[in-house]
């Protein structure tokens, strides 16, 4: 017989090694660098694949995506400093994504406006950029059609959200024309990808769309506090691409 707490403690593998602070800081800095590269990658995808292949319902009212790391975006005094002197060794620094990130930062120092998520055409899928970089990512998102308990709960939360609509706005979730069937959720890096089997998205920039976005953010942040961006798919195809969770009001 044993006390449950004692039993668990006896089986925890013994005392853990102390944290490797240098490694944590290096990984943290890599994540910061990746965030820059990630935003830039979207911009490059827009440029590389061309406007024809890029679809977004939110394209007429693009979400603002500040580039982390640009002057004024990070307060150094409130960020733990990296004193290991080794700098960054991000994988993202090795290729054209990093190049794009650098150019983006060196350009004007202004925030980048990302206008949407890419959805490649057949021609783009045959191109080298897609095969090398974008296809694996795209497939990973699709393959991660999650059956996790948490995702089911998020689906329920999204479906059940009564959500107080902002003043003067209709509540997207109470509109019977919106048939929300959450088919899959995936966490790809810091992106939460919601794939609805049926989603009749409201017109971009409409009050209904804004209400929907606010409630997406609220629900996703609850279940995925580490999320930075949200991509909303309609049966596997991009419907709404929401950015910058860090700046959303519900956070």
């Amino acid at each position: 017989m044993g006390d449950i707490r004692q039993l668990l403690r006896s089986a925890d593998g013994g005392p853990a090694s102390p944290p490797d602070h240098d490694a944590i800081r290096r990984r943290g800095r890599r994540l910061m660098a990746g965030r820059v590269a990630g935003v830039a990658a979207s911009v490059v995808a827009l440029a590389v694949l061309g406007g024809v292949a890029l679809q977004t319902l939110a394209g007429e009212s693009p979400a603002r995506a500040p580039v982390v790391g640009q002057p004024g975006d990070q307060d150094e005094a409130e960020q733990p400093s990296d004193d290991d002197g080794q700098g960054e060794s991000s994988d993202a620094n090795e290729d054209w994504v990093d190049q794009a990130a650098m150019e983006a930062q060196e350009g004007s120092g202004q925030a980048i406006w990302v206008v949407g998520y890419f959805y490649p055409s057949d021609e783009d899928m045959a191109g080298p950029e897609f095969a090398d970089r974008l296809e694996p990512r795209w497939k990973r998102v699709q393959d991660e059609a999650a059956d996790l308990d948490r995702d089911e709960r998020l689906g329920q939360a999204l479906g059940e959200l009564p959500g107080p609509a902002p003043a003067g706005m209709s509540n997207a979730w109470q509109d019977p024309s919106l048939e929300l069937e959450l088919g899959a959720v995936a966490l790809d890096g810091a992106e939460v990808v919601l794939d609805f089997e049926q989603l009749q998205a409201p017109a971009a920039g409409s009050a209904q769309a804004m209400a929907m976005q606010a409630q997406f953010e609220q629900a996703v942040f609850h279940y995925y506090p580490e999320a930075e961006t949200i991509c909303v798919l309609d049966d596997g195809q991009p419907a709404i691409w929401l950015h910058d969770m860090a700046g959303c009001p519900s956070r």
Partner: protein, 180 residues
């Protein structure tokens, strides 16, 4: 030392202390949860790296520890992330296999681990959060996204299931006292 440098150093020390306080217990919890110390270390290190990245925001939360716990659990429950972590952990393990000198596990410890392995993911999660990290039901509910009553019943079922593999005393479901 300039005021700004002192401020930077203070924040750095604050993050270091946060890691020192929370990292070992979280590694223990994730070790129980996934059955592999190396995988647990990998996941927990990633969670703290994210805390480092977002420290400006995380440090302002009421409970930064709750944030990092939730992120760690999220990472662990993501199959893709877990697969990645296992792969990296295997590489790390291969690199230091000759350095380890672990004591053999006792029969009781093995029985507990085997019992945990046979629990569902959800049962293992609530059990570890509730009785290893000693978190109150409300925080377990917040982390897992369940209602407090669902957490209580899932915990009870988990104990019963574990009891099929190892003898467990009757649990007095007192609230945990160590919840940061």
């Amino acid at each position: 030392m300039a005021a700004r440098e002192r401020q930077v150093a203070g924040v750095r020390d604050e993050f270091t202390a946060f890691c020192d306080d929370e990292y070992p217990r979280l590694v223990g919890a994730l070790t129980l949860w996934c059955g592999h110390r190396e995988v647990a270390e990998e996941v927990v290190q990633e969670a703290f790296a994210r805390a480092f990245r977002d420290w400006r925001r995380v440090r302002g939360l009421d409970q930064p520890a709750a944030w990092v716990r939730r992120v760690a659990i999220n990472l662990a429950t993501s199959r893709f992330r877990r697969w990645q972590a296992e792969r990296r952990a295997n590489l790390r393990l291969a690199g230091r296999r000759h350095e380890t000198d672990q004591q053999p596990d006792t029969a009781d410890e093995l029985a507990v681990r085997r019992g945990l392995e046979r629990l569902s993911e959800a049962q293992r999660t609530v059990l570890v959060l509730r009785y290893y990290l000693d978190l109150p039901v409300a925080e377990v509910a917040a982390i897992t996204g369940r209602s407090p009553s669902a957490v209580t019943s899932a915990t009870q079922r988990a104990i019963e299931a574990l009891g099929e593999h190892v003898e467990v005393d009757e649990v007095s479901d007192r609230e945990g006292s160590n919840h940061g």
